[in-house]
Amino acid sequence: MMGNILVLAEHRQGSLREITFEMLAIAPQLSSDMGGEAVVLLIGSGVDEMAVKIASYGVKVLVIDDPLFEDFNGEKYQKVISAVIDDLKPSVVMTGHTAQGVDFMPPLAVEKRLPLVMEAIALEYTDGALKATRQLYSGKVNAIVAFKPADTYLVTIREGIAEAPEITTAGPVEKINTPLKEDLDYRKFVEYIEAEVGDVDITQSDILVAIGRGLKEDKNLPLIEELAKAVKADIAGSRAATDAGWISQDRQVGTSGKTVKPKLYIAMGISGAFQHVAGMKGAKTVVAINKDPEAPIFNVADYAIVEDMFKVVPKLTEKLKELKS
């Protein structure tokens, strides 16, 4: 249907993923701007409950429920969505920019010869044209990308750019038959493996709480561990922290240690010598807490607190726990 947006619900191991609801904060408005409505496509096996939950946000949900879709398989998704596009002719197909979305959207675009924008952070429909904003150079530059006129536009949406909307009058749930009838022999799901615990590779961490000389003594370590636990962070540190034995050498950040690129780097009691900064400059967001207002770490920080870390950390941990619960 002209103006309709097909939103692909994302779920894993029996639970819907947050991005599904985030897209419900974007798709209804955009589809109304485009003169259509948002429709969610839920592909899975035994997903009645999920369908009801999605519908509670006031959208129509199309469900393909079949044992073939017990687990995610990019090739199967591509085939199904391809068939659904032929059938429903939506103006936009929207998925999360996730390990699932990036696996089947590009091949789908190639197969259907449809235009694709990856990891949009904003979408706007004006004067009959759909434009997406996305980011380049790790967020240093924004790009406005315009779709040329096409039957269907494909777009993946960055996680965390919107908040789930309020629940409202439930929309309808409609089951449709699976366009895919047989299992595939060329791509098979084998299993899920949980990350090994204990063996931390800080270069792969999303959040790092990094400590430096300011920790003063190892009896202060539990304070940091509690903070790290509250935000599911791994602990890293400067050379001084390694020297003091507070962290193991494989958690040292800097030119003689590891180069890290976490989404969030909380530097506490780290002055920020050039040799340390070289190892964490790729962090997306840097928070620095240091009692020295002249500490060079503040030059690379996004958020800064000039204070003795011990006066800040306990309250910070407490507040974070409270806000996150």
Binding site: T242, A244, Q252, S256, A273, F274, P296
Partner: protein, 384 residues
């Protein structure tokens, strides 16, 4: 080739190259090695074992070959004139040629190849330290008295840029004939050599010789003892004489050309950098400059000059962390300085500044003393 195996590209010439048969196993190399108090490095054993070609692969895999700071003490002490440390560097070369070096070493070396500095910084921003200063640039073919060569670490590390900035201010005040090279300036290769990347070092020698010779410089003034030492030792085709900046300032203070504007009423102890002292024999000039600073009372470490204790900043140690948990030599040095009652530990090398300052902070002595490069001190007492 099997994974993990280290290949020797040429026939083993260790015995010949390092005169291993000349070794009398007296052990003075290991006895004097400052690293032995921290790590399991026994350099004498390497000189002994490297004679056995079949053992080289095994030796190259030992972690302690990366503990050597190339302070040169072993070479200074060897009664037979051998250079035991070179055996370790040759073993490092074997690892480098296999490609299986620590990621930190890999990144530093690759950065030298691609950007001309080991700090993974773009070449284009090499001269950003000059912002706001009136710096005279040298031009190829135009005679210049003093051609300055800024060490990569001084050019890029914000903590050290003050060394170069103070230099420019004072040079301008003195109206000296000088020039800087600009963004074409490329790593001297000192650390490349000690990290064992022989091929890259050869390439740097070739390229830098051509670059430096393109300037009609009467002499090249190096900021870092490392560039200074490596130019004088490994660049046979340089047309210009190379001096360290403390030698230039020794001349200037001797001729009473420095316009002092203040005093430094401090007790200053001078730390001899290995590459200026033990490797180059420049001991007096930095002292003479410090002594001329009005107000300075110059102290001496017990272990000074040829016996100076290494700070552990050289030999590629900026990129290779020691696994030892024992006290860093730099900390020992700072404790010694404190025992002497020094207010300032003066250095004339960027690596010494970084390691000693780090040690001083680690020991929590910031309130009572500081580490300063001689150019920093001059900036405080010379008219600009």
């Amino acid at each position: 080739m099997m994974r993990g195996m280290i290949m020797i590209s040429e026939t083993n010439s260790f015995t010949e190259k390092f005169d291993l048969l000349g070794c009398i196993q007296c052990g003075r190399c290991t006895g004097g090695c400052p690293v032995t108090v921290r790590a399991d490095l026994n350099v004498r054993r390497f000189v002994y074992d490297a004679y056995n070609e079949e053992k080289l692969d095994e030796l190259a895999r030992l972690a302690e070959i990366w503990d050597c700071t190339t302070c040169n003490t072993c070479a200074v002490r060897c009664p037979k004139g051998l250079k035991p440390l070179e055996v370790l560097l040759a073993l490092r070369s074997m690892v480098v040629e296999s490609g299986k070096v620590e990621p930190t070493v890999r990144d530093a070396l690759q950065s030298v190849l691609l950007e001309g500095n080991p700090w993974e910084k773009p070449r284009a921003i090499r001269c950003d330290w000059m912002d706001g200063l009136d710096v005279k640039m040298a031009e190829p073919g135009v005679p210049v008295e003093n051609l300055f060569f800024v060490c990569c670490t001084i050019a890029y590390d914000p903590r050290l840029q003050i060394i170069a900035r103070n230099m420019v201010r004072i040079l301008n005040k003195l109206d000296l004939d000088y020039g800087f090279i600009g963004t074409d300036e490329t790593c001297c290769g000192s650390e490349v050599r000690t990290l064992g990347e022989e091929g890259l070092f050869e390439m740097l020698i070739e390229d830098n010789t051509e670059l430096l010779n393109s300037f009609e410089a009467k002499r090249i003034v190096a900021f870092s003892p490392h560039c200074f030492s490596v130019f004088n030792t490994y660049y046979p085709d340089l047309k210009s004489e190379v001096i360290h900046y403390t030698q230039l300032f020794d001349e200037l203070v001797g001729e009473n050309k420095i316009p002092w504007r203040g005093e430094l009423q401090k007790k200053v102890v001078y730390h001899d950098p290995c590459y200026l002292g033990k490797l180059s024999g420049v001991y007096d000039e930095p002292r003479s400059v410090l002594q001329k600073i009005p107000g300075v009372e110059l102290l001496e470490f017990d272990r000074c000059r040829e016996r100076s204790l290494c700070c552990e900043g050289s030999g590629g140690k900026m990129w290779v962390e020691s696994h030892s948990k024992k006290e860093r030599l730099a900390e020992t040095r700072i404790k010694d300085a404190r025992a002497l009652g020094a207010d300032i530990v003066a250095v004339s090398c960027p690596f010494c500044l970084l390691t000693l300052e780090d040690a001083l902070k680690g020991l929590g002595f910031e309130e009572e003393m500081r580490v300063a490069e001689i150019m920093e001190l001059l900036g405080e007492v010379v008219e600009e």
